[in-house]
Symmetry: C2
Subunit: 193 residues, 2 copies
Amino acid sequence: MSDGVAERSRPRDRILETAQDMFHKHGIKGVGVDAITEAAGTNKMTLYRHFESKDELVVECLRATAAKASRIWDEFEARHPGDKLAQLHAWVQKASELLSADSRGCDMANAAVELTETDHPARRVIKELKEAQREKLVALCRDAGIGQAELLADTLSLLLEGARVSMQSVGAEGPSAQFVRMAESLIASFRAR
Amino acid sequence: MSDGVAERSRPRDRILETAQDMFHKHGIKGVGVDAITEAAGTNKMTLYRHFESKDELVVECLRATAAKASRIWDEFEARHPGDKLAQLHAWVQKASELLSADSRGCDMANAAVELTETDHPARRVIKELKEAQREKLVALCRDAGIGQAELLADTLSLLLEGARVSMQSVGAEGPSAQFVRMAESLIASFRAR
DNA sequence: CTAGGGTGTTACCGGTCTGTAACTTTTAGA
DNA sequence: TCTAAAAGTTACAGACCGGTAACACCCTAG
């Protein structure tokens, strides 16, 4: 019988991938290390040989998720080289696809909700990575020739963040269903100024 | 020495109030029933005489929070009787005040993030209460004479939801700082249509 | 073939969690 | 004042948690 996870990669990679998936689906405090290692087809000792604690594993998972998100941005540039406005529309499109494909929202935002301890190692990583994403979106808006780039970027950010959390409360038929329409008309109105 | 909680109310009320506060600050899975009862100046047995389980206590807390929110809406009507547009602006103002006063966001949204079990009793209550709030905001927008009332209400909802979760990730200096400006210009643009 | 690092296995530690039993004390109402 | 309900106290069950120790195994590089 084959594992749910990639057939025969290194234990560390399997643990990381499995943990990402399980944290995403069930939350961080909702998953124990035993469950992760079992699903990854390995054991607890091996986990602790590669990660010094569960908290450290969480941090590593968040970095991996951010890296995945970063690759999506490269895709925008590859598909619409130089055309920043087209890339902005691609961002909206991609965001909407992610909303449809999955209803558990953003791992970093969810982690921020769950990990309330102010000195949790994940908190600074979350802030760091979220700020980097914000910078990217601001730059994209600015390079697309939009005047109030920061304001548009922040508004789009809040809309997406809101849509992702709203889905978890009221489902896909709630306010988040209108995300694309909201985002597009917002972009249009900023371009008209 | 006086307790941190209301001097001498009934144990059930003290438990409910304390639980609301602690769940809000530290999350649901981050607080045990022992900690709640101790902070409420009582004991675990008394808690389980009034609530059949922790899950049931969570549900009751969410209902209490929603009732509190409902009282704020009554305040809008009392302060601007009949003037629905003024009430809508009051809603924006109040939302912004809540954002400044507290950075732990919406209890119901946070609970939805934390409680991933699809059959958790809190989930249907969250959906129920969030849908009721949505109805209220839609009605307010419609009665304020706005054409696409549903779309405005949903957009404002997502903005606020996003602002509340964004604060938990990147703090008050992030995108959520522009909430009032976003909401007001949104209302203005919908009124102009 | 052999040495050694990566991995698997089992058992365990101390702590915390929700929830309950049995009993005593306090409180409030007639 | 007497009584009955509400609340406090202590102890415990059973499960799960993160994390570690000790040891056996396998697989590959030399």
